[in-house]
Symmetry: C2
Subunit: 464 residues, 2 copies
Amino acid sequence: MITLPLCTNKAPLYRQIYDWLKAEIQSKNYKPHDRIPSKRKLSEHLCVSINTIDTAYSQLLDEGYIIAVPKKGYFVCDIDVYHRINVTQQENTLNISMSNLKIDFSPSDIDHHAFPYKTWRNIFKSCFNEFDHSILKRTMAQGDVNLRRELVAFLHSSRGVNCDERQIVIGAGTESSLRTLSLVLSNNTSIALENPVYRKAYKTFEHMGHAILPIPIDDRGIEIEPLKNLSNVAVYVTPSHQFPLGISMPIGRRVELLNFANEADGRFIIEDDYDSEFRYIRKPLPSLQSIDQNGKVIYVGTFSTSIAPSIRISYMVLPLTLLKNYTKICTEFGSEVSILEQRIVAKFIAEGNYEKHLNKMRKLYKDKRGHLIRELSIFGNDIKIVGESAGSHLLIKSAISKSENDMRKAATEKGVKVYPISDYFIGQMLEKYENTFLLGYGALSKIEISEGVKLLYDAWNCGD
Amino acid sequence: MITLPLCTNKAPLYRQIYDWLKAEIQSKNYKPHDRIPSKRKLSEHLCVSINTIDTAYSQLLDEGYIIAVPKKGYFVCDIDVYHRINVTQQENTLNISMSNLKIDFSPSDIDHHAFPYKTWRNIFKSCFNEFDHSILKRTMAQGDVNLRRELVAFLHSSRGVNCDERQIVIGAGTESSLRTLSLVLSNNTSIALENPVYRKAYKTFEHMGHAILPIPIDDRGIEIEPLKNLSNVAVYVTPSHQFPLGISMPIGRRVELLNFANEADGRFIIEDDYDSEFRYIRKPLPSLQSIDQNGKVIYVGTFSTSIAPSIRISYMVLPLTLLKNYTKICTEFGSEVSILEQRIVAKFIAEGNYEKHLNKMRKLYKDKRGHLIRELSIFGNDIKIVGESAGSHLLIKSAISKSENDMRKAATEKGVKVYPISDYFIGQMLEKYENTFLLGYGALSKIEISEGVKLLYDAWNCGD
């Protein structure tokens, strides 16, 4: 018998015995079918209690290193030799970030200073308590009923959306909602997308295996003509404020689009109303869903821009025509969203805080937008501002005789991040969009906006 | 000119004018290409300021009901007639719930009274403050780096998992993680599943379009023989505590399974370690991932059972071989999980609270399990208890001469919900599993366990 080097200052005794025996088996000192010492014998040999040996042996039995043969003892199992393959370590794929970033004109960021911390903290306190165990339970796939009820009322009054709480499905962000929708639509549904497009939507549908049809946009939104011959198609649009072009779809085109959907079964419209909360000049346009009478529109929205990007809560209003399929496919699953956060948002809406917050943000963003436009005037005729008075970004089209890439590079060198519209195209960008950049102002202070514009002015040598 | 019935006690004036004109256009009182009154004329006619008329007209222009022709005036647009289709209202598809439910032996519920409310509240307070705006930002797709770091250390010490933080991907629950995994695996990867199986995993892969291969289980876990000829396959297993059978896979089978994966490219193992935290007799078995040297194992875990089902946080450890594909596909997206909850869980682990909580729960569940087994002894030889000493459920196999369906029905009538194992089969159940039920005890108090067992005893007429 091999001597076991027991010591007292580390793992428990049974563990040392287990480790030693396992190593002996793995290194083939004990071979398959060998009998190992009886518990009594080993206990005497090592001067440890038989209970300790028993614990070690039980663990080895459990893990399948040894088997017990009644009246014969313990034998080593025949464990297949484990083969190793050489795997080459992969390169570190972390994204390279701009190290000198000063001003980021990101179109998807918000004003963090305006977040209602105190209100949120108070609502958390009132929602999270040991007397309500429902906050620990997993909720149904569709999401918390309180939040769904609040949304029914809110979406009706603010966007004209007609639905009841059964039609609302809460998701963990727009992409998560679109993934769920992809499961609900039949597999062979093609997805027609505005081009340029909200990339995450495009990528989500592509990854989910749908055929992708990029459709051009004219000055009234997505063109209907290229859709005409399609069946089994869902058309993804952002009619309130086209992302990224900022076009608002007029009623004529809306009706054309709805009529296109009505002309055949298997045609749907996905209305992503992502930033309809922010419109500065007049009241927001009513949603497509509010005009739809035929169960053709799937309405999608999110709290990412209206509360915070970290709040992973989106919502989808399914037409009754799709509800049955949703129920069949998804109700086996639970909700993907923390019930506590759903409750907090529900209360935030119910108590009027959401409305108040939106009013505050609208004023704030309008102010920032005005400031950005004033600052941009130093460019004179070198740039033209495009896009509706809505959302938290605008577009500039430059007449400067530099390539888009050179302009982006020059901005980057000055520490300014701008977003060329070519990034949002599926395939080749049309010439008319060349040298167009998105400037988001949600997260920037007025001082930062001024600084950013000045840096761009220098970068693009407009003063020369 | 039609007279507009203006009143002063409802909507703002401009809104009444807008509503009236819109109605006139929709009802074809103004026809397409008709000229509507000039702003000045209407202002005089209605005795309201020209600004008010301007606001109303701007909204109509915005929405595309009218167009402005320079020097000519405002004309009604040619809006396509909107066609209505009859949609029959769908029946209410809400699930019918047991109205007399007294005791639910659910295998997926937890003890809510043991949740560390106070600690959680304190951690929330310390994570949520206005000086850290990162809690409002959307985090990268892989999840918060703090949580990923904590998981690297925790999974290594508790489960032997070898990885670094780059390999960890945070998801919104196991199904969400499996959906992401489905995107990372190639489209033509078949999914081999233990049969019986964790249904949500099976359904997730099915919905994502993978070919499903149900594989039988013997007393050592999933059988290897039926896998032999498969290529491009990912084998989904629960080796620590097979769900639902409760088998722990011995080392010999584990090595066989790993060797199967190693023998060809495109073979992977998905190790769902869903309740490995709860093992009562000896230390948990080390994970498959800890033995894997060839990048073949995808390790999946969740906080649903170990903290609470409402915490929608799961994690996946990707082998380096799949990381490149993950980066390519998923890094465009953001994380699906609330950053605040990720931070709270990270801190919960970092400060030792998770370890403490697990120890407490382990003791509690062990105690409940013992109690359930003692109570079940009244059945004598009529039932046999099966499944490892682990997790928060056990299985009973009944020798009572009643069909499974009759037994379930009888239990339901007494207000007791039991979970027949047939629910977890893909296709036909094997005869040897007949009349086997899962009894979960996580959420039940000892008194409830006693009551539940007595009701089952009555329901199944064992006393007769």
